[in-house]
Structures are given as C-alpha cells and as structure tokens.
C-alpha cells in the first residue's frame, strides 16, 4: 500500500458519508478511479453502509408508547405546590417582622441589631439561591448522569 493509499484510506469514510471538503472529495474520487485496491475497500464499505441502513429497527407499539407518554410527571402540580409554599412563607415572615417592629417593649437599638442579623441571613440565603438557579439554567450537563 503506497503512502498516498494510506492517506486516502483515512478519508474514505468521510468520502462515503459526504463529510469531506470539495477539494478532499475530488482528491479521493480521482484516486479511486486509478487504484483498484482502494476502490475495492470503498465498495466494501459502501455495501456495509447500505446493509446497515436497511437493518430493521425495533419499534414500540402504540400501547407501549402511550404508557410512556401517560406516565409523564405531574409538572403542573409540583409548580402549584411551590407557589403555595413561597406565598405562605413570605406572608408568615412579613407578618412576624411587622409585629416585631411595631411592638414597644424592645429598644430601637436592639430591634436594629436583630433585624440586621436576620436580614443578613435572608440576603445570604437569597444570593446562594440565585447562584444555584443560574447554574441550574445554564449547566448543559444537567440531567446527564455521566
């Protein structure tokens, strides 16, 4: 096998699949017309490809397909659950904070200090939450277990 044959051989699959540039493709085409050995290999590969193309594909029956589609998780239900939870928690936090701020038995300074501690925790929580949500949206490997 000549060096040219070796070079051409590496491109035969690309030629077969129409994935070469026009120039490469012309090069392979010209060589195949002259070289019997490479032409034989090409013919074999072409025959193999054609046989695989017509190989039977197992299919799912209507019933099986329906089963898979019908078992789709209740996305709407969980969304509704989250909305309820968030509304409830925000309302509870709001009312508690309001009551704490208007009651008179605690001094203003103490109120400020306690508010800043809770406020700090809340902001830290929100920043982590935001970070996670951004990662969730942009991570292209999400849902891929590999």
């Amino acid at each position: 096998m000549s060096n040219l044959c070796k070079e051409i051989e590496l491109m035969l699959s690309g030629y077969l699949d129409g994935e070469l540039t026009q120039q490469q493709s012309q090069g392979v085409h010209a060589h195949l017309e002259q070289c019997e050995q490479c032409n034989k290999l090409y013919a074999d590969l072409l025959e193999m490809k054609s046989s695989i193309e017509i190989m039977e594909k197992p299919i799912m029956s209507e019933k099986e397909m329906h089963k898979i589609m019908a078992d789709k998780p209740a996305k709407g239900l969980s969304y509704f659950g989250w909305v309820l939870l968030i509304v409830g928690v925000s309302f509870f936090v709001g009312v508690t904070a309001y009551q704490f701020l208007i009651e008179d038995s605690t001094s203003v300074w103490l109120k400020l200090i306690i508010s800043s501690i809770y406020g700090g925790i809340a902001f830290l929580f929100l920043s982590v939450l935001r970070q996670r949500l951004v990662a969730r949206k942009t991570d292209k490997y999400r849902g891929v277990d590999l």
Binding site: S51, P58, I59, M65, I68, D145
Partner: protein, 168 residues
C-alpha cells in the same frame, strides 16, 4: 415553548431512540424504562431545542447516557462480571426472544454484535440512525475531529469480522 411542539418531537423521535436503546440493552422493558427516564430528564430542562434535529440529537445523547448508567448499575449489582459493556442485561434472563432471533438473523448483525461497544455505537449512529458527524460528536461527547477516524476504524473492524465470517 409550546408543549404540543415538544409532544410532536417526542412522538417523532422516540421510536428511533428506542431502537438504539434496544440495540444497546437487548431488553425491551429496560429500553422502554430508559426512554421514559430520558424523556423525564428532558422535560425538566428549562429550555428545549425547538428545532427537530437538535431535539433528536439531545434525546439520543440523554438516552445513551442513561443506557450506560443502567449497564453500570447492573454491573455493580451483579457480582458476576459481564463480558463486555453492552452484553445482554435483561434482569429476568429472557430477553426479547423474537428480537434476539431477528438480531442473529444475518451475518452482518452477528458481526455487529461481536464488535466493541464503542465501534458498534458509532456505526449505528451514522449508518442506522443517519446522524451527521457533528451530531455524533455531540452525542458521544467526543471531538468532532475524532469522529471520522473512529468511525473509519470501526468500519474496518466490522469489515474484518465479516471477512472472517466468510472464511469460515
């Protein structure tokens, strides 16, 4: 995105993905589980491609990864060592007989079964399922430049097996 479009794309491409999963797992129930699992994962994604070919590629990618996960999990569970990655793995040891028989029907299919999983998958993705090189690179998670050489090695290996079969 309109869910009717997603549903339509699922209907359109699930059968092909099922055929691929079936070829890798050799078990009808497992293949269906994998398809369902893959669709579930896909539907959880905030953004799905609205273009049919892109969706198909993503579906095959997820299905393939789920199949590999499943094979690994089974290997872990079973103490016995299976001969190779994609060997028959149906739990109840009665793989889809009809399919198995059909698979053994031709010399070509026997040769494909004898091929390494890496080689078989790339040939099937190209010639059986008709993906382009760029999509194959994406599905297999390899460099686009590697596809042509790996596919060519795979085809030479398959040709070799077929010739050995002829010599017998």
């Amino acid at each position: 995105m309109k869910s009717s479009l997603v549903n339509q794309m699922i209907q359109e491409h699930s059968q092909g993905a099922f055929a691929m999963a079936m070829n890798m797992l050799k078990c009808r129930d497992d293949a269906q589980d994998v398809i369902q699992d893959a669709l579930y994962s896909l539907l959880k994604q905030p953004r799905l491609p609205s273009e049919s070919n892109q969706f198909r590629m993503l579906l095959f990618k997820v299905v393939r990864n789920k199949v590999i996960d499943r094979i690994r999990a089974k290997k872990k569970r079973k103490a016995e060592v299976l001969e190779e990655e994609h060997s028959p793995s149906c739990g109840h040891h009665e793989p889809d007989n009809q399919y198995e028989q059909a698979l053994m029907k031709t010399q070509l299919q026997q040769a494909l079964t004898a091929l390494s999983a890496e080689h078989r998958d790339i040939i099937l993705l190209k010639d059986w399922q008709g993906f382009c090189y760029a999509d194959i690179a994406n599905i297999l998670g390899i460099e686009p430049g590697t596809v042509m050489s790996r596919l060519h090695r795979a085809r030479l290996a398959l040709r070799n097996l077929l010739q050995q079969g002829d010599d017998k």
